[in-house]
Subunit: 306 residues, 2 copies
Amino acid sequence: MGLLVVGSLALDTIITPFDKVEDALGGSATYISIAASYFVGLVKLVAVIGSDFPEKYISLLEEHNVDLEGMKIEQGKTFRWGGKYHYDLNVRDTLFTELNVFESFNPIIPENFRKSKYVCLGNIDPVLQLKVLEQMSDPQFVVCDTMNYWIEGKRDDLLKLLEQVHVLIINDSEARLLANEPNLIKASRMIRDLGPQSLIIKKGEHGAMLFTDDTIFSAPAYPMEIIIDPTGAGDTFAGGFTGYLFKTRDLSPNNLKCAVIYGSSMASFCVEKFSTEGIENLSYLKIQDRYREFLNISRIDETIPA
Amino acid sequence: MGLLVVGSLALDTIITPFDKVEDALGGSATYISIAASYFVGLVKLVAVIGSDFPEKYISLLEEHNVDLEGMKIEQGKTFRWGGKYHYDLNVRDTLFTELNVFESFNPIIPENFRKSKYVCLGNIDPVLQLKVLEQMSDPQFVVCDTMNYWIEGKRDDLLKLLEQVHVLIINDSEARLLANEPNLIKASRMIRDLGPQSLIIKKGEHGAMLFTDDTIFSAPAYPMEIIIDPTGAGDTFAGGFTGYLFKTRDLSPNNLKCAVIYGSSMASFCVEKFSTEGIENLSYLKIQDRYREFLNISRIDETIPA
């Protein structure tokens, strides 16, 4: 059983107007796994690293109950990414992308991972995401992330993948691009017609929207005064969202809403520090406190005056 | 008593990718008054029109219980504004602004309007907004709108005005400009330090935020598939918000939240049709239905799992 996570492990160089880190722990699967670890007994990770991947990062993943049987170590350098954030932190430039060993990544799912019912596919080539699903014996709940690059460059593969996805998590510009429709409500219906029962549209500082059944749910953003590093917030959202659903085994629309708030809570911790530092030392109690704070932001005592 | 509304009456030319109207009823005071009329027995309007202002628009205001004693008719042409919306309707270009009789607008508050406790100042020159307040005997609750043009061009007057304002309603880019701070949470505190007890930041398709006491409230946007004409949505929000508070005479934080949802409800009706058509023929029942729909968008059955 367990939750299967597939994606990238990376070494990130991150520059903000206030600080800089080099070769920090990064990658979609890293953030997803650590975020999910607070909800899931054992996270089954499938990814690739180079021989230069620091031992301390491996230890960190192990401390978060990440099963590394599916983590392949290749001769060569680990995937590296560099990004520079602007003053308002909503805008960033990619400084470099060095695929290195990630270029030939071929996700092989270990035999005892294949029966996992819950799968979280981090943002990688949809061809690889499809390969993962082909190896699974009976995936019951597949959560998937993607990005503009694949929507534009590998649309056919992505469309094939979406037929097998239960929840797609993308941001607003990606949703508009995927549906070729500026109105997000229309776009959401068009995307759900492609396969996913549920769609989550992340809107950064404006929160997130969940579309499921005939329900539209709007989740607020956490009012953050200080954002240190937005890197990995989306992956962390996906990890918290999927992890909470794995924990509760309740896929009702209302519990999906709760999961959106848990995902948002995890993402709000993520951006408070550089790299994965914001989500390394949490407790479930602290996460629940943040969850309650989130609920308060949109709480209203309902009164209909005469 | 009654609610005093001061602002512009205008004739708007509006071009969208789908349709066009010329010399349609417009202006901040128009939208505010009509929206507020569903909550308020008598709206006391102070504005100026030219001798060309169509009789049918005067009748429309009268049908909505707008007291026109403070509406001055000057020889000359009425204020005219033209705007063209882009395909995604979030972006618009101003085609022309012909101030006409509005150029010499000097708001004189009729004697029996001066005791109004509730005042809604539509978006006009802060010098004029100040003049209005000077004539009031004891304004208890002043709601005020403004825009980039005044924030940049008449900052000192605006700052003087803000000391006397209870609720400022602006959009996110205006908030950032006014506080000179990109983070909206920080900006909200800085703006409230300038005078307003409460601040509402409108975020268009992302909803609105209310900052009051130590409360931050996030209101969702109504999921609109078809937006015909966004003109006047912000003014309509202000009219619904202020009108609801006037009706209930309850300025508690929770009731301010309700008022934000009523304002949002009114704005969602506004954009469904051109000009004021979307808010001309509403009923209080219809408004309450929309209010309930709004509450559902962010409703969640709260469960904290063990």
